[in-house]
Symmetry: C2
Subunit: 321 residues, 2 copies
């Protein structure tokens, strides 16, 4: 443990950053009538009755005179898809509002759109707080939308995912040491098989085997593909390589051999695009039931898992022109 | 938008709850020398120089006299695995510290262990804040550990997952409408195949096919399994049911037919436990590389995905005695 005299500013910031926060943009209008705003994560609720919230602003902030002078300001709690907005208002700059649609709140305060919650406030008190000034605001009105939040933690942006209720995962009670339903291999396999089961009727309609579908899909990635690239892409998926499936696609007129390797025929391209469009519709339905926030996190974590267990997985896509 | 007069307390709380926060426990010692502590999410950093932090306490809180009287207190930023501790200190009760190991900080303040960060503070100022009192503390010392944070959002606990740097996912540039590497079916399939590729050498050593391994694993869940239960569990996994794999396990002396269905032989049980132990070790290595926080969220989201696409997936486990 250090003491005040020995505080290392970087270490202190890092320790403070271990407390996760949402992200807000706080806006007002300056004496020239120009909209003013900045990204703030020191927001906190204070009192329910009267309704009070607080945030802190550095004494040397350029926008301090505007917030001091205009007794009204608005707090915008940002949603997960507003990271760009957060970045825009975190930078010093003249034109933070350029091109943004906004409404006018009490005191002419600019109100941004698409936020999780907005609080229109009137300054109730200003308190000294070292190198910052603490604004205590009475909340005059507010609104709220259901959305996933933007989170800030450890110096970077984060997703928040609701936790499962605490539970012990189901496990065989008679044979100690057996698999639980929480084994990653089971979860990945089951998820894959069940998701694929919703795609398979589409393949049956098109008269394609799983293997033919994999290879057909891979052929949509580049205009022409060498057989070695195809085989590398299918490593771990098709044990015997792509040749059998390729031969069958060629025999059915969906693909053709060219000097550089293989390419889709017009019929193959139509077939692939029809299947992909239908499969993407299935995916959309699944992801909608999962919720957009969780869907984004799941994909992000599967991508991270792949970089851990399969550094070469991106090769098929990286090669795309 | 409402106004002050029309504030609905529940709606206001809900709007405030859209701002995500970390979770802290703040401790002190009362005039009788008893340790006191409560769960607080109104923590916020205020100033770097001097180092100040703040939090708010309800005017009618039982612990208010203790915090007012003892000018020292400590803020503990909780880690992801401290949800139970958060719950314990959020309830009114006499014995919050019962059975807890803690150290003594400045002013005799109890210091809890296993937290992400701890700030030992001396009250610098008390400010009125409506129905709450705002404690401004000068940070005397702090420490920090790397860990995943406990997050509170929308009235419940949440995980925080670091966001990927903003990027456009790789996509075929030549054929509009083709799959991207972000398609859930691709991510699930690829993750499954690659994870399974690390398990497969274990199966080869044991001389088992994939199908035999699936059925052998399923037979570890209950002491005896009816063929219909087995087939139901394998739906979407083994297209032709369990019979072929079962017959081969029986022929090799790893399983046997009993009046109620099938069960593992002693040799089958040994074989299964050896494989499961080795597979679990592979899983641990993968999850360690992913990081414990992300690993937990990934499993949680795959479970959530399964309840969405495969409500019957839990049936195999639910039936366990």
């Amino acid at each position: 443990m250090g003491n005040t005299a020995a505080f290392d500013a970087t270490e202190f910031r890092r320790a403070l950053g271990s407390f996760a926060t949402g992200v807000t943009i706080i806006t007002t209008r300056d004496m020239q009538g120009e909209p003013v705003g900045l990204t703030v994560n020191s927001f906190s609720s204070v009192s329910l009755n009267p309704p009070l919230v607080l945030w802190s602003l550095a004494n040397n902030a350029l926008s301090l005179p505007a917030f001091r002078n205009n007794g009204h300001w608005a707090v915008h709690v940002l949603a997960s898809d507003q990271e760009d907005l957060s970045g825009r208002f975190a930078r010093r700059g003249e034109n933070k509002f350029a091109g943004l649609d906004f409404d006018e709140g009490e005191g002419g305060v600019p109100l941004l759109r698409g936020c999780m919650a907005r609080f229109q406030c009137r300054t109730a008190t200003l308190y000294e707080g070292g190198d910052h000034l603490i604004f205590i605001g009475e909340v005059l009105s507010f609104d709220r939308d259901d959305a996933a939040p933007l989170v800030f933690h450890g110096g970077g942006y984060a997703h928040a995912t609701q936790r499962d209720p605490a539970h012990t995962s189901p496990k065989s009670a008679w044979l100690d040491g057996s698999f639980s339903g929480d084994f990653l291999g089971y979860l990945l396999g089951r998820s894959h098989f069940r998701f694929y089961a919703q795609i398979r009727p589409l393949l049956e309609q098109a008269g394609l085997s799983d293997e033919e579908f994999y290879v057909l899909s891979a052929l949509t990635l580049k205009q022409r593909m060498a057989i070695n690239d195809l085989d590398a892409g299918m490593a771990g998926v098709l044990d015997d390589g792509s040749r059998d499936a390729l031969a069958s696609l060629v025999a059915r007129g969906l693909a053709r051999s060219v000097p550089e390797g293989y390419e889709l025929s017009d019929a193959g391209r139509d077939c692939a695009l029809r299947l992909i469009s239908a499969a993407t519709a299935v995916e959309s339905q699944v992801l909608e039931r999962l919720g957009p926030g969780d869907a984004q996190v799941l994909k992000s974590l599967l991508n991270r898992l792949l970089t851990v267990i399969d550094p070469g997985a991106a090769a098929l896509w990286d090669g795309a022109p």
